[in-house]
């Protein structure tokens, strides 16, 4: 499960060739909003050519244009035969997921970014090709004609709802990007809030955001130490339930500790 998903404009060679130096767990090569209409063809060709030559360890997704855009089928077919981790589908809804699933065999990460999609989130995320969901708060608040604030009160319910949906279906919930590039304190608060509500990772629109996101969405040192103590005690007692530091520990907590240690190992923290 990745912590950070960095958007990289699909028509910018300098950023594409540096995709693996930003330390993002995953990158999303963007054919949609960051590419001017007159350069959609150039971006498609550049992303295809890059992917054909790409041999890296970073997960690579491609954000295609939406189903109704007129670019959809060309975007899908441009990279469908190449090794990508999946498509990121903007303006997702159940019909759009079906259309993309018919057109490809790759995993799909839908962006939930309009009110109806929020209401349809369970139907969208439960599709077998869908491997998680991304919240697109900028478009969502634009659709609702409400202010997008730094404390995120206007998306609090949506974050909670999508977290529940994704966790119920055991799939990642990727939080919306923080769009104030130089406000890292704001990013820290925003990401911490999203994580506390159940987000498993966060999208980023600037490389400077990646390290902080990785830090906040990865297991903390204190959490790792606690998990190690829980697992050690569980091994030592051999019991289904036991006390540690005055607290009752049972199997769900032991299992959570196992998952946390596995995540720590993945991110080279142990």
């Amino acid at each position: 499960m990745s912590r950070s998903y960095l958007f990289i404009p699909g028509n910018t060679p300098s950023m594409i060739q540096s995709h693996d130096v930003y330390d993002s767990d995953a990158v999303i090569l963007d054919l949609e909003d960051s590419v001017a209409v007159y350069d959609k063809d150039a971006a498609r060709e550049l992303v295809r050519s890059f992917l054909a030559a790409h041999r890296g360890n970073v997960e690579v997704f491609v954000r295609i244009n939406d189903v109704d855009s007129g670019h959809f089928h060309r975007d899908v077919s441009a990279v469908d035969d190449l090794a990508i981790n999946g498509y990121v589908l903007p303006k997702a809804n159940p019909q759009a997921i079906d259309a993309l699933a018919k057109a490809c065999n790759h995993p799909i990460l839908p962006i939930i970014e309009d009110p109806q999609a929020v209401l349809d989130a369970y139907a969208i995320v439960r599709h077998p090709q869908v491997k998680g969901a991304i919240l697109g708060a900028e478009d969502l608040t634009k659709e609702m004609m409400i202010e997008r604030t730094s404390d995120g009160i206007e998306i609090h319910h949506v974050r909670s709802h999508l977290a529940l949906v994704c966790h119920a279906l055991q799939k990642p919930f990727i939080d919306t990007p923080w769009t104030v590039v130089d406000d890292l304190d704001g990013l820290a608060k925003d990401a911490s809030l999203a994580r506390s509500l159940g987000a498993t990772g966060k999208a980023a629109i600037h490389p400077n955001h990646v390290a902080l996101i990785n830090d906040l969405f990865g297991p903390s040192e204190s959490a790792i130490r606690d998990a190690e103590r829980i697992l050690a005690k569980a091994s030592e007692t051999g019991k289904g339930a036991f006390r540690l530091d005055g607290k009752m520990i049972d199997e769900p907590i032991v299992e959570k500790a196992r998952r946390l240690i596995a995540a720590a190992a993945r991110y080279n923290k142990r």
Partner: protein
């Protein structure tokens, strides 16, 4: 008709195609001494792959990697109707 693809930005290249009865490939690069031949080879290999023999290709390179040069040429060829 002249067509272009790409930019003059760092790590990119700009490809300009002009009508010609033969194949002409011209490369200007900030790293011509080290990579001029390699860029020529990518351009010619791509033209060969698509069977394009009658076109003038000018490549103004700002340090593009091979896949970028190839992508910009293919885009220009499609824009100019040389290939589909």
């Amino acid at each position: 008709m002249n067509v272009t693809a790409g930019t003059y930005e760092s790590s990119d290249c700009l490809i300009r195609l002009s009508p010609s009865t033969t194949r002409k490939v011209i490369v200007e690069s900030i790293v011509f001494d080290q990579f001029g031949d390699a860029i020529q080879r990518v351009l010619n290999d791509t033209l060969d792959q698509y069977g394009v023999s009658a076109v003038q290709v000018e490549c103004f390179d700002k340090g593009a990697l091979d896949y970028t040069v190839r992508a910009r040429l293919i885009t220009a060829l499609k824009r100019g109707g040389y290939i589909e």
